[in-house]
Symmetry: C2
Subunit: 196 residues, 2 copies
Amino acid sequence: MPRTVDAEQRRRELGEAVWRVIRRDGVPGASVRNVAREAGTSMGSLRHWFTTQDDLLRFAMTLVAERARARVVAVLAASDTVDDRGLRALEEVLPLDEERRAETEVWLALTARALVDPRLAALRDASAEDLLALCALVLREPGALRAGLDPGLEAERLYAVLDGLAVHALTRPAALPADRARQVLAAHLEALRDTR
Amino acid sequence: MPRTVDAEQRRRELGEAVWRVIRRDGVPGASVRNVAREAGTSMGSLRHWFTTQDDLLRFAMTLVAERARARVVAVLAASDTVDDRGLRALEEVLPLDEERRAETEVWLALTARALVDPRLAALRDASAEDLLALCALVLREPGALRAGLDPGLEAERLYAVLDGLAVHALTRPAALPADRARQVLAAHLEALRDTR
């Protein structure tokens, strides 16, 4: 199917239907049949996008990564003069509003599923490499990393903070509401800065 | 069933059979029937422990938390003179060997399942409270936390590092082998210390 505006719109709507089914029924309930019912369409009309449950789950995982990546790129491109754009870029992958909460929930469900699904694991791993690279990029902003700190180790540590906060803000929203998650991430970046 | 040594041994063996099935077949494959087959026993003989898949998954989650907690308590009790016992206690919940890797894999699978299973979510939340309390405890060791740092925020940040490393060491073992995960955690604790 050509990537026209309509096709992109349709792809996004289907992705959201998949996410709703995963969030409501879990990964085992996300069959092509249930997604067709959720999207109000026939199974045949879904065959441009996916024909098996495995395809469907990869489609859902790809959309999570694409949408998060698009927001991160938009933040990074918006200005090169804003001090906290690193923080704002990283916040795009935390579940701080309903859209990102949906993505994080699907990401967590599919990350677990990938433990027993090697093709899904390949997508998960590519997305992890992207996020580690984003962490490294944020730490290369002017003044972001104090002299004496190891950039590779600090990128891994920042990535751990980011995914740990993602899991906790998702599963412990009362203990870690959006403002608190943001505050912990900001404190981490602040602790790394060159404050001379 | 009385908690005799034999009963404890049997409980542990069954838990490990449940874990093997979850790790091999995923949560949907972890039926009472499949666990009975894996454990080489009848479904009837399992009824002391669990009768439904939901029970079985709670049994598996409880065992993960119990075993990790027992190791943490043993490390903390071993000595009050060892400088790095906080680090060593936290390492007990990272997937740094095959036993802890099995636990972390089951924990991740059940954490995702808990998104659509409120009773499992209650167990997950209790375990999260335990781990946050462990992080807070580690930061109350003498000299562990520099003056001026906020203990509550630092406990949340340390817990994020810990769970982020757990997910990454599990899903990205080539990028984050045991030594590297240990090194990142140690660097985090070192950065918080009062080094006067």
